[in-house]
Symmetry: C2
Subunit: 337 residues, 2 copies
Amino acid sequence: MSTIRDVAKLAGVSTATVSHVVNNSRTVRPETRKAVLDAIKRLNYRPSAIARSLTTNVTRTIGVLVANITSPFFAALVRGIENRLEAYGYQLIVCNTDEQASREARYLDLLLARRVDGMIIAPTGEPQPLWRDFVAHNIPLVFIDRKPSEPCGPVIALDNFAAGYAATEHLIRLGHRHIAILVRSPMLSTVVGRRDGYRQAFRDYKLPLDESLIYVSDYALEAAHETAQRLLTTSPWITAIIATNHTMTLGVLEALQEQYIKYPDDVSLVAFDDNPWHLLVTPPLTSIRLPIQELCDAAVTTLRAALEKKSARADARALPDVFVKAQLIARASCRKI
Amino acid sequence: MSTIRDVAKLAGVSTATVSHVVNNSRTVRPETRKAVLDAIKRLNYRPSAIARSLTTNVTRTIGVLVANITSPFFAALVRGIENRLEAYGYQLIVCNTDEQASREARYLDLLLARRVDGMIIAPTGEPQPLWRDFVAHNIPLVFIDRKPSEPCGPVIALDNFAAGYAATEHLIRLGHRHIAILVRSPMLSTVVGRRDGYRQAFRDYKLPLDESLIYVSDYALEAAHETAQRLLTTSPWITAIIATNHTMTLGVLEALQEQYIKYPDDVSLVAFDDNPWHLLVTPPLTSIRLPIQELCDAAVTTLRAALEKKSARADARALPDVFVKAQLIARASCRKI
DNA sequence: CTGTTAGCGCATTCAG
DNA sequence: CTGAATGCGCTAACAG
């Protein structure tokens, strides 16, 4: 691959001039510029991002860690972040941690070695010592969707408490008293928020809260499925279920189908993470729609602010958290009781 | 961030020794090695992947271009490729082209500048001049899912002809004669294959083929939806529909629902891209399951072979294409007629 | 307006 | 077994 020196030689100028033509970093006489551009074209020269990064100490790369790229929610998040960030000339390195803290750690290490300019992280839940290294090296961290177990940067997330509350309140108002909720490990801030919103709704409506109706499951579809089966057999008196994510929703619907339990007749349903197919099952699902676009916008805005501050040597950790509201979309999967 | 020189100084050795300790590239006296490792730990030294790439001319990075990261199919593809490739110490830079040739071109340019070691590409359909540059610089290209419009590397794809044939034959055997098929632009090899398989099935069964039942739609959900509506109103006599991807399936189901058309009573349905929710709609969808794992395996194996060959200065283009078979899963969305 | 030069952080000869 | 020296491709002073 031809280098800046090849171009300089061919154009009969110095490498400095070539560099300045390429980067528009100082005025170059039109004829000189043309000679350089011609040489560049003839040699099919393409500056090495590697070499450039080495000298400038800037990679224009943002590391993105998501817990599960096959989840529609995270996939949409990645797409949104990429679209907004590319407008500012940043490129993403997306890594899929698959909900494993060990993978998260490995990727943090790799991305640190690659000297990314910043990170957007949906953490797995466990604290990561490497976060501190990023902070120590002034590489801003922005957490998205989930709060880190240790504060190492601003958080952009859903108001999970409100969302959990809204789902529960919707059912309570329809007359439900025995509402089960399917959640993941309470190590995740999303889970804590949604569960506590659920609890608070019961308190506010002065209804007895049965903690045993909070079912905890692993994130895999099979696990969600099994937990849903268990839920239906051990607590058959419940009249409603809240599934707190996409996989839980699938698991619940599978279990209902197997046990010939009809919704909303036998049990009402509220699903988190709205999806196109929620409209296509019979009857359509009442869902909590997460404002993905807003999350992406806020994450990118915050990250950019952090990158700015960094150059100004201020403390990037001082940026404010952002919480966005979800929206309950009432459809036919919940009935009055 | 501390450098190799800081470590060398602290350990009282040369940078060469530090380098060799880090890379295990020559025998170092145990005490020396220990001194180096201690210094590394104390300084929290982390070699710069940038600098290393500059000297070695290797990035251990693979560029991955997918058409639409929010599609369950491509998301699963990315996940599979990442899982297999990380075992060999490669990292991915995943880029979402959003089905736009211009974005594909921009990303090719960026990844070339970043000197990736290889590429896995699901092309948008239009030929990309930059492919030639990769080939010229001996950076192997592996195409996945879709054939490139110009042969620039091995192709790992579905046997789309067989899949289209299987879907159509399934319906023909059930007695259907008026079968509509919803496809994307025939610029895509996947579309051509599926469509031609459809045609061939009619020929083989000596049935008249109505070309006007091949409906072409853009890939967006709204477009698929509108095309499905049009299909149902302009060709109401059809007794079956084949939706050739995830979005088309959603569009068809939406249109059926709006027009109160029941499947399989009024119209039978075959959907490409099996998804968990296909089991949860009523009745469950007969689907074509794509062997994603096999695609990923073959792509990674082929890429690794190409990377090997490259070092051996052989022609990486000479690697064989791989075609894998899809599987039709008969469920209740098709009825006998 | 342009050229010279000195690194950026590392791997890798070649000597010892 | 170890060190000194060179260069990867580029940008950024500094000089002219």
